[in-house]
């Protein structure tokens, strides 16, 4: 985190010099490509999402298992990859699988490059969004994840296809919620627009989900139970106007 502060600082310093500022501004405006596309940054393992998510239709949250429990989705631990792959001898000799196993032998973490990266001062929790759209509205997982991460099941390694800027977040939050109140329940059908042309509901949420995010209470709730619980929530949750344009403090720590 501290290095991150340093990195931002360096970037700002870049911006400081009058000319460089202009250049940086131009580059940024030239699109998020320069800043956010990692096609120029090679991932240690050429992970094929299109096989896992696309071909085998593995639920996103099978690997990114923290998404519904924590504010971060989490990169699957190496053990998880191994857990399946040691039972799949067919692909065992592919170079990238070899590489995977070499990491496992060395008990080394895989140094992935971070693709979806929001600044430190941003407070974003996966948990809230997952619980809202998947468990409450019961929408297909890949569609919900696709809202921000794009049609991953067609990718190889993940790409950042949404800007993930404040303006972009607000574009949803405001468009569907009126002016200032982030967090008001959204009308469900608005989101039924498929994320990509090839998109169709992948699988229904039937597997048990923890209702309370408590690892020690794996008390599972059916979807209807969760629905009932969520209906108990008061309608006006955190629904106020403030002097400033938005409740900045909800996102900015």
């Amino acid at each position: 985190m501290w290095q991150k502060a340093k990195a931002l600082n360096l970037y700002k310093l870049l911006g400081h010099r009058g000319l460089m500022l202009v250049m940086a501004a131009m580059l940024l405006s030239a699109g998020t490509a320069w800043a956010d596309d990692v096609s120029n940054a090679k991932q240690p393992i050429h992970f094929p999402h299109y096989i896992h998510a696309g071909k085998f239709k593995i639920n996103c949250m099978y690997c990114h298992t923290y998404a519904r429990r924590s504010k971060v989705a989490g990169i699957p631990p190496v053990a998880k990859c191994i857990g399946c792959h040691k039972h799949i001898p067919a692909v065992r000799n592919k170079p990238r699988i070899k590489k995977l196993f070499s990491y496992w032998k060395r008990k080394e973490p895989i140094p992935w490059l971070k693709v979806h990266d929001v600044p430190d001062f941003v407070y974003f929790t996966h948990k809230r969004h997952i619980r809202r759209f998947i468990f409450q509205d019961g929408r297909p997982t890949q569609q919900v994840c696709g809202m921000c991460h794009g049609d991953v099941k067609t990718f190889v390694t993940a790409r950042k296809i949404r800007p993930l800027t404040m303006g972009w977040c607000l574009s949803c939050h405001r468009q569907f919620q009126g002016d200032s109140d982030i967090g008001k329940p959204m009308p469900a059908k608005r989101w039924m627009i498929p994320v990509a042309a090839t998109d169709k509901p992948v699988m229904q949420v039937e597997y048990p989900q923890p209702a309370v995010l408590d690892p020690e209470h794996p008390k599972t709730m059916t979807h209807s139970e969760i629905k009932r619980m969520s209906d108990r929530l008061p309608k006006k949750i955190r629904d106020h106007l403030v002097h400033a344009p938005h409740d900045c403090w909800k996102c900015h720590v």
């Binding site: 990195a7 990692v38 989490g74 973490p109 971070k114 990266d117 690892p215 020690e216």
Partner: protein, 757 residues
């Protein structure tokens, strides 16, 4: 109570699945908060998943591990907040009866000791006069060759120590056939311990603060540096609830306790005992009190000349009568004797005079409670003292010992000049240091072994002052070694290796962890309701381990203590020494809550924490009463030279109202010549100029008995205080200037309203 319930449970589960440190892989997950590096070409962070985490590890969700604080001998229970295998915050363990979920500044700042950039990461061996970094193989071979053999001339010096470290050291020394185990810690009141032992049969009887209506403390700074910086404040809070107890502090330099006293009495330094005697004589006129002590003693007391003592102590007769009136009216009370009273040649006598008051007032058994003898004596805390340090150094000096092992203490920094600690050290044939930091003593050794911090290591600790008998605090690694495997090592492991060589009994312990857990398991029958397995499918052993580690401490069964039978003899204080006109001032080396005795001078947070009284940071200073300052024609910021018969130091003046005009105080903790970037070269160490005066009875160094002369030196420098150093307006930082910022009401009003409310 202290946090969201899940964390506690997570942490229970955590322990259920074996050691924390051993299982966590120190590397980030999908969270934004661990960045191993930032690739600047694409301005991307690396985000590294864990290799094989346990399923209770959640990126972005913190867990809490219980352990025990080692920042001072008090042994408070702590909860360490962990995220992605990094410890981020230390908090008190609510279940611990020592600190009830609270923590002092030093405990909070343990993190900066743990993550300190100046920690030793490689073993070092002295080659050709200077220390060079070597591989662990070489180091451990050398260690084996030096310690792994019988050697009766080996001397071991360690800081205040308890629990299984102490037990293991004992075991080692026994195996090595050496009897020379010395414990040296500067602040624990050795004289007081001895006197308590003598009078009440236990070095540290239990004090019941909240029962007491009146506490009269002769320089016992129990809110800050008197044995337990957190426990006594928690007691104090109870003591101050309505009906509010009264606190009278009698000392020559205002301590934090004095700053919170209802009446602070600035007494002439070194005369506390006489005042106590005077009070005793006033009490003795009442047969009720006189009857509690032997007749001979009572008669002795009748003969005391109160007026003379009033002159001597600079405490007026009215004040004494008033004190007497209070002691008589408020019952039960508690009279404490502290280091500043005991730190004189006649320290034991002073302590006895002070504790005598407790006997006369009948506090014994009411506010001073007996101890039951400890079930495992070899685990009990050993506070040690200056006498042992002296014995150790003299031994080295005389060649009695050839190998010196130092662990957890820093004599070369702390011992006064006249002890010539460095010279004594150089005399030893071989010097070994187990140390975390490059402190003075460590750098003077031949073999330096970097050890784990207390947040990376296993151990058990018994509190210096434990509120209940049989309390044993457990310490476990809350994260992997900061500098990675192969850098630092566990002290326990290193020593256990040597013990194994010498003593086959220890062969079967894989490592120190196994040793500690094994020992605890054998203690199981002796424990009060040892934990059972909670998670289905757990074995008994796992359940036990999980249970005790998640509590962070165990309670040992103790049998009911016998009532105290106070042993009282006549107090015979010597005639007060005449004030030497060439050294007119008494030097008070005052300990700070924060830098303690100097061991925390390398912790940035504590260097930047203002002194509670003088509000000075990053510096040392000499506190002088305004009157004296006027006489010496100095003001805050001037530099003075403080000269004793054993040396002199230059230090800046901070004019300070809470000190007797005949005393000057220099805080402890600064004046390091080594010890890393944050400590090195800041300020001075008052201990360095102490005079060779010792308590007649115990042979402890009389740290408060040095007389000095103070002379102004030309140059002056800024004193950096909380209120902007030398930029402060006239009295700006001391006066409320009529604003109602801190208001005061009387205890009477307080009690009335509290009872109503």
């Amino acid at each position: 109570m202290s946090r969201n319930t899940w964390s506690r449970r997570t942490f229970l589960k955590a322990m259920g699945l074996g050691g924390a440190g051993s299982a966590l892989v120190l590397s980030g997950c999908g969270d934004t908060d661990i960045i191993n590096e930032v690739d600047l070409e694409v301005r991307k962070e690396k985000v590294e998943p864990q290799v094989d985490p346990q399923d209770f590890v959640r990126p972005g969700i913190a867990m809490f591990y219980a352990s025990t604080c080692q920042q001072c001998p008090a042994g408070c229970g702590i909860h360490a907040r962990i995220r992605q295998g990094r410890v981020l915050k230390l908090e008190g363990n609510p279940a611990s009866s020592v600190n009830h979920g609270r923590l002092c500044p030093m405990g909070q700042a343990g993190l900066h000791g743990h993550y300190n950039p100046d920690r030793l990461t490689k073993p070092m061996i002295r080659k050709g006069g200077k220390l060079v970094e070597v591989s662990w193989d070489e180091a451990s071979d050398t260690l084996k060759s030096k310690l792994g053999r019988k050697n009766s001339k080996l001397a071991w010096l360690s800081g205040a120590i308890s629990g299984h470290h102490a037990a293991l050291i004992d075991a080692y020394l026994e195996a090595a056939g050496s009897k020379n185990f010395f414990v040296f810690d500067t602040l624990p009141p050795a004289v007081g311990h001895a006197t308590n032992e003598e009078m009440f049969g236990s070095a540290m009887p239990r004090y019941d603060f909240d029962k007491a209506e009146l506490i009269v403390s002769f320089g016992a700074d129990f809110l800050a540096t008197w044995m337990s910086p957190v426990h006594f404040p928690t007691q104090y809070a109870k003591f101050r609830k309505a009906p509010r107890g009264t606190l009278v502090q009698i000392e020559s330099k205002m301590t934090l306790t004095g700053a919170n006293a209802d009446r602070w009495i600035g007494i002439r330094p070194g005369t506390e005992g006489y005042l106590a005697l005077a009070l005793a004589s006033l009490l003795a006129q009442d047969s009720e009190y006189a009857s509690r002590v032997p007749a001979s003693v009572a008669d002795e007391l009748k003969g005391v000349d109160v007026d003379a003592i009033a002159k001597l102590t600079d405490v007026s007769v009215e004040r004494m009568h008033h004190l007497h009136h209070m002691l008589a009216s408020k019952n039960p009370s508690l009279v404490l004797s502290g280091p500043s009273a005991e730190g004189v040649e006649y320290g034991s006598e002073t302590a006895r005079a002070i504790l005598l008051l407790n006997v006369m007032l009948g506090n014994v058994g009411k506010t001073i409670l007996p101890r039951s003898e400890a079930p495992f004596p070899n685990l009990t805390p050993r506070m040690g003292g200056w006498s042992e340090a002296k014995a150790f150094l003299d031994g080295l000096d005389s060649g009695k010992y050839d190998t010196a092992v130092v662990f957890g203490t820093n004599p070369i920094y702390q011992a006064p000049e006249f002890m010539h600690a460095d010279k004594a050290f150089s005399k030893a044939k071989y010097r070994i240091a187990f140390s975390m930091f490059p402190d003075e003593t460590t750098m003077a050794c031949d073999l330096v072994l970097p050890i784990h911090s207390y947040l990376e290591d296993w151990n058990t600790t018994m509190p210096a002052y434990s509120p209940e008998d049989g309390y044993l605090g457990l310490q476990q690694p809350v994260m992997n070694p900061v500098f990675g495997e192969g850098s630092t090592r566990s002290f326990g492991d290193l020593l256990l290796e040597q013990v194994k060589v010498l003593d086959p009994k220890f062969k079967h312990w894989k490592n120190y962890e196994a040793y500690v857990i094994g020992a605890l398991t054998t203690m199981k029958p002796a424990l009060i309701n040892p934990p059972k397995p909670t998670v289905p499918g757990q074995t008994e052993a796992e359940g036990f381990k999980q249970g005790i580690l998640s509590d962070g401490f165990v309670h040992m069964k103790v049998n009911k203590p016998k009532a105290i039978r106070a042993k009282v003899e006549t107090v015979n204080l010597p005639k007060p020494p005449q004030q030497d006109s060439s050294y007119p001032f008494r030097l008070i080396p005052s300990p700070r809550l924060g830098l303690w005795d100097g061991r925390h001078a390398n912790i940035p947070w504590l260097q930047e924490l203002p002194d509670q009284l003088a509000e000075v940071v990053w510096d040392s200073w000499i506190e002088i009463h305004p009157k004296t300052a006027a006489k010496l024609d100095v003001e805050t910021g001037d530099v003075v030279s403080v000269k004793s018969s054993k040396g002199s130091i230059k230090v800046k003046v901070a004019v300070f109202p809470g000190i007797h005009p005949e005393a000057v105080a220099i805080p402890l903790g600064q004046g390091h010549t080594e010890y890393g970037r944050y400590a090195k070269g800041i300020g001075v160490n008052p201990y360095s100029i102490l005079e060779p005066k010792f308590d007649a009875k115990t042979g402890e160094l009389a740290t408060y008995a040095t007389n000095v002369q103070v002379t102004k030196v030309a140059d002056r420098g800024p004193i950096v205080t909380l209120a902007h150093g030398d930029l402060v307006l006239e009295n700006g930082s001391n006066s409320q200037a009529g604003r109602k910022i801190v208001k005061t009401v009387t205890a009477r009003q307080f009690d009335r309203t509290e009872e109503e409310g």
